[in-house]
């Protein structure tokens, strides 16, 4: 194991002596020790101590301290000394303008990794995690990455919120912004103007949460408590929210019900109903979100209802209860916690949704769009964006905490291995009728929406001029023969290819999620529960908030990434970690622990065990999780809309842009291409991995909070 230390020491020294310390693209920047920055010189000290520790068996504590000290000093100097001197006003006041430095580069990355691994080695040799260096190293790495790419940005929001636009500390301004009338005003109740954006958001999210829960329940009841063969339909529907970029539904609704929409025009012609803009605003957002998020509630409640043992309902029936009485006194109380769960998921999803309010919201603003306009709009008020982000974060985290702590203990549905025999009770006629009357309109609308997506881009102008045309398709996806041979001349190709590239780059990071799941499921270490809690909580952060956080955090040193493709890939990677973690946890729980232990006692270290025993058995799950990560990355909007540049544009952002300027034809054609492309990817993977295994994955225990991970927006 000495080799481990020598390799990492070499990497650490290379980071200090050879690699450029500043700038990720800047290959000519000098290494740390020759950069003329005296505050970097102490970084050599921990590595010297580590070299000294190499020659003694008992020098582990020194090694540990050296690794920790290196990391602490690296972070401290980076945070203290910025682009324009001291990073904090009080330091400037105290010590003058101070030295300057650029953002960290590859040298710093290597140095940080080396310190982390030396620290891990010291900890493991002193008995942490049963002496397993790989495990300790992985834990430090995952915690470090989550801290850097999730919590540090969120902290930057907080810090930015309490400062004015010049960067000085201004708590009164913060209070003013936080309690501003535009956020909390109640004018729609007491006056004629519209309410504050916070109330708009809460009202919208509550409405959507309620509607999706009721619809989801109706679907689940019809599928499980009637004889209709609904399961194939449900499976198909459950794929829709995954492959559909969130705003596409809003787009289709405009084409159906907008002022010039198909339905509007038809109603005007036939019944003389005047055209109006009713769809823009809360009605449009609500319909779009209900269409988009009902399948998620449906999957949650399907699982909940399946968990209600039929024997309980049979017992009730043998005690001479009528179907209605059984439903009211047995079934309903048992599924009530599941309903609350589905509601909270719908609530969080609606809050996090950014693209539908943007496309169809009209003058009705919600927090996520307001944040966007605070950043990109004319006012360009980052402080206001930060305050709004805090409010949004507070709402979603409250819902998340409620889901986790309040509901966590209230679930009665037990999904045990032993099958409960018996036939579930049939629905009382009144409930059945109510279910049908809820489902049918939803299905009709969904069919209309997807029909519009697939067809709308291939006619000249939907509703007005239904002549088929390939014009929009060619505008977006034409391939021409030019001087140098064939080339992709369509306007969409650039963003399409960048999207695929970046999503592919981010995809392997799903492995990070699987690794995290492995650490959470198979290892015990101090702070494991809080680590799990924080990792899970980070999933409840809306994409818009992450987007703002990333531009606040990574625009300036010590870590500067904005404007690169890297930051988009990182955003995808960390937004998709939940997919990996959930898939990993669900599948690891099915693999007997004694297999790991057998491998360990046979002399394979935990890394070998992971690679030779666990990964081969998890392979189908890993492939599936990676595919979902890929698809989610391609369809994501909210976080990345802040991060794209002219060079690195993404498909979804491009479509939103087209829709924004009224080019619906191209936008719809592009959406259709994306949806079909995603569908093909999923089908291809399904064929490759095997239908049965994917099927099993979608049937993983439903109550481990599916919605937590799905927040996408």
């Amino acid at each position: 194991m000495t080799r481990f230390r020598i390799v990492w020491l070499a990497i650490g020294w290379a980071g200090l002596l050879v690699l450029p310390w500043y700038g990720l693209d800047d290959v000519v920047s000098p290494p740390a020790l020759f950069a003329g920055s005296p505050w970097l010189l102490p970084l050599a000290l921990p590595l010297l101590v580590a070299v000294w520790a190499l020659f003694g068996r008992t020098r582990l504590r020194a090694l540990l301290a050296a690794g920790a000290a290196g990391l602490v000093w690296l972070a401290t100097q980076g945070l203290l000394i910025g682009q324009h001197g001291w990073a904090f006003g009080w330091l400037i006041a105290l010590l003058g303008p101070g030295p300057r430095q650029a953002a960290m580069g590859w040298g710093a990355v290597c140095y940080a990794l080396a310190c982390m691994m030396l620290l891990a080695y010291g900890l493991a040799r002193l008995g942490a995690c049963k002496g397993d260096v790989f495990v300790v190293g992985s834990i430090l790495l995952v915690v470090g990455l989550i801290a850097l790419f999730v919590f540090y940005p969120v902290l930057c929001i907080l810090s930015s919120a309490v400062r004015d636009n010049d960067g000085s500390f201004a708590p009164s301004l913060f209070a003013e912004k936080l309690f501003s009338r535009s956020i909390w005003g109640l004018d729609c109740v007491f006056g004629v103007r519209s309410c504050g954006v916070a109330w708009n958001t809460v009202a919208e999210a509550t409405l959507v949460g309620l509607l999706t829960t009721l619809l989801g329940l109706a679907f689940a009841l019809v599928a499980l408590r009637t004889r209709l063969p609904m399961k194939p339909l449900l499976r198909a529907l459950s794929i829709l929210p995954i492959i559909t970029p969130p705003f596409v539904i809003g787009l289709a609704l405009i084409l159906l019900f907008g002022r010039a929409g198909v339905v509007t025009v038809w109603l005007g012609n036939v019944f003389d109903i005047p055209r109006s803009r009713w769809i823009y605003g809360m009605p449009g957002i609500s319909i779009a979100q209900v269409l988009a998020f009902t399948p998620i509630a449906m999957m949650v409640l399907f699982g909940v209802l399946q968990g209600v043992a039929p024997s309980l309902e049979e017992a009730s029936q043998t005690l001479r209860a009528s179907p209605w009485y059984t439903f009211r006194t047995v079934t309903w109380p048992l599924i009530r916690p599941g309903l609350a769960n589905a509601f909270l998921i719908g609530f969080i999803e609606s809050m996090a949704d950014f693209a539908n309010p943007l496309v169809i919201g009209g003058n009705f603003t919600v927090l996520s769009t307001d944040i966007f306009f605070a950043v990109v709009g004319a006012s360009h008020d980052q402080g206001r964006a930060a305050v709004l982000a805090i409010v949004l974060l507070a709402f979603t985290l409250t819902a998340f905490l409620a889901q986790r702590f309040w509901l966590g203990r209230r679930s009665y549905a037990t999904v045990s291995g032993k099958g409960h025999t018996g036939i579930p009770a049939t629905l009382p006629a009144s409930v059945r009728a109510a279910c049908y009357s809820a489902i049918v309109p939803w299905l009709v609308l969904t069919v209309a929406v997807y029909g519009m997506i697939l067809v709308g881009g291939f006619v000249v102008s939907v509703g007005r001029d239904n002549t088929p045309t390939l014009e929009y398709f060619w505008t977006a996806f034409s391939i021409e023969r030019g001087v140098g041979g064939w080339f992709l001349s369509g306007s969409a190709w650039n963003s399409f290819i960048v999207t695929i590239e970046v999503a592919l780059i981010a995809m392997p990071f799903t492995a990070l999620g699987i690794l995290t799941a492995y650490l959470l499921d198979r290892q015990s270490f101090p702070g494991r529960r809080s680590f799990e809690f924080l990792a899970m909580m980070s999933f409840a952060i809306p994409g818009t908030v992450i987007g703002v956080a990333y531009i606040l955090a990574f625009n300036v040193p010590p870590v500067s990434l904005t404007g690169t493709g890297t930051i988009i890939a990182i955003a995808f990677a960390f937004r998709n970690m939940p997919v990996g973690i959930r898939a990993g946890l669900a599948n690891l729980s099915q693999i007997d622990r004694s297999l790991d232990e057998a491998s360990l006692t046979l002399g394979a270290h935990s890394f070998g065990t992971l690679m030779r025993v666990i990964v081969p058995m998890l392979r189908p799950a890993i492939v599936t999780a990676m595919t979902y990560s890929f698809v989610r990355a391609v369809t994501a909007v909210s976080a990345v809309i802040f991060l794209v540049t002219g060079h690195y544009n993404l498909a979804t952002v491009y479509i939103v842009g087209r829709a924004d300027v009224g080019e619906y034809g191209v936008a719809i054609v592009y959406s259709a291409v994306l949806v079909i492309f995603m569908m093909m990817v999923l089908i291809l993977i399904q064929v490759l991995v095997g239908e049965r295994r994917i099927g099993r994955r979608t049937e993983t225990p439903p109550l481990e909070a599916p919605g937590l991970a799905l927040v996408q927006g």
């Binding site: 004694s594 057998a598 360990l600 006692t601 046979l602 002399g603 394979a604 030779r612």
Partner: protein, 359 residues
């Protein structure tokens, strides 16, 4: 056993294991001589599996030291200890063939493939599974899977071989057979083995030494005969074989022996540290001998309250004059059994009677 100055195969020095507030093992000390098979026996939750996992390195001691052949391994991970284990579930890797399973440990420690295969095949032949190389674990019977697990463990020639209830997934008939095989293998290869079970018969049959665990502590440590004939506590007496624990009075001591008053009988037994006054006596069910008729000066009077015919023997429950509670009796005579209500004369076979020292 082997080599007078050799350090013991395994040694525990004041080892404590805590899980949060729960103490799974309380300052345990013991050592295991090389080449012996020691069994850890006890009810579930007594700490026996914890000891096994501590030896394997699958758990880390909260306090104390663990030594294997004199080397302190307390802080070493499982992979770094020269120990292998046969799991209750066998833990065969389902995605590998039998041969790959047995090669696994050798390959993990860097052995060339050809050599690993050769060694693995030799061990498979040893457990009677030559020719099963290419099968998957799912294509084997429970007993065969068990043998693969044993082959996989012994092919590494570990310093200590650990068995975690290896027979509990086998049906009753197979158990005796596999038990004998394991014992034979351990003897032939002169392996040090630690064996966890909650089945006292299995423990008695297979062990050189048994350590009975109770409530995170060692209750008694000794040969099977010592444990059966001289239990050191009521718990051990009751756990190893059935025992009737009855209160008695010690009337006097002479050297190693004590005079014990049991009803109208006066017995002379090794006192084993019991002091004068009231004490407890462990009486094996077989040690109560029944004869027709009433009690006399050298027999106690008893009355059968329940009788059951079990083919090879009879089981009785009876009230005995002078004893405060009913006793349980096993009698070999099935030709002329007693019936409920019969009056019998009860005498004691001293080989099955022992004073239980008070704590």
């Amino acid at each position: 056993m082997s080599g007078g100055n050799a350090s013991p195969a395994v040694e525990f020095r004041d080892v404590t294991k805590r899980y949060g507030n729960v103490t799974a093992l309380h300052a345990v000390n013991f050592s295991i001589a090389r080449g012996t098979l020691m069994t850890l026996l006890g009810p579930s939750g007594c700490g026996k599996t914890t000891i096994l996992r501590l030896i394997a390195g699958l758990e880390q001691a909260s306090q104390g030291q663990i030594l294997i052949e004199g080397v302190d391994v307390t802080l070493l991970s499982a992979a770094e200890r020269d120990v292998s284990m046969v799991f209750q579930s066998y833990a065969l890797f389902p995605h590998m063939t039998v041969l790959e399973n047995v090669c696994y440990g050798l390959r993990a420690s860097g052995m060339r493939k050809a050599q690993a295969v050769e060694l693995a095949q030799a061990k498979l032949a040893l457990v009677g599974l030559a020719g099963y190389d290419a099968r998957l674990p799912s294509e084997l019977s429970g007993g065969q899977q068990q043998r693969v697990a044993v082959a996989r463990a012994i092919v590494l020639e570990p310093k200590v071989l650990l068995f975690d209830e290896p027979l509990s997934n086998l049906d009753a008939k197979l158990r005796r057979h596999v038990r004998e095989e394991i014992h034979e293998l351990q003897q032939n290869l002169a392996l040090t083995a630690v064996y966890v079970t909650h089945d006292q018969q299995e423990a008695l049959a297979i062990s050189d030494r048994i350590m009975v665990m109770n409530m995170a502590r060692i209750a008694q440590d000794g040969t099977p005969r010592q444990l059966y004939e001289q239990p050191s506590s009521q718990f051990v007496a009751d756990f190893i074989g059935d025992a009737n624990i009855v209160p008695v009075v010690i009337e006097g001591r002479q050297g190693e022996l004590a005079s014990v008053r049991l009803g109208r009988l006066l017995l002379t037994l090794p006192h084993r540290g019991a002091i004068d006054g009231s004490a407890e006596l462990s009486i094996r069910p077989q040690a109560l001998l029944l004869a027709p008729g009433a009690g006399s000066s050298d027999a106690l009077a008893g009355r059968v309250s329940k009788a059951a015919y079990l083919g090879s023997h009879m089981e009785y429950r009876m009230a005995v004059h002078g004893l405060s509670k009913e006793v349980f009796v096993i009698a070999q005579d099935v030709e002329a059994p007693f019936a409920a209500g019969d009056e019998v004369a009860v005498t004691l076979a001293l080989s099955g009677v022992a004073l239980v020292p008070q704590r």
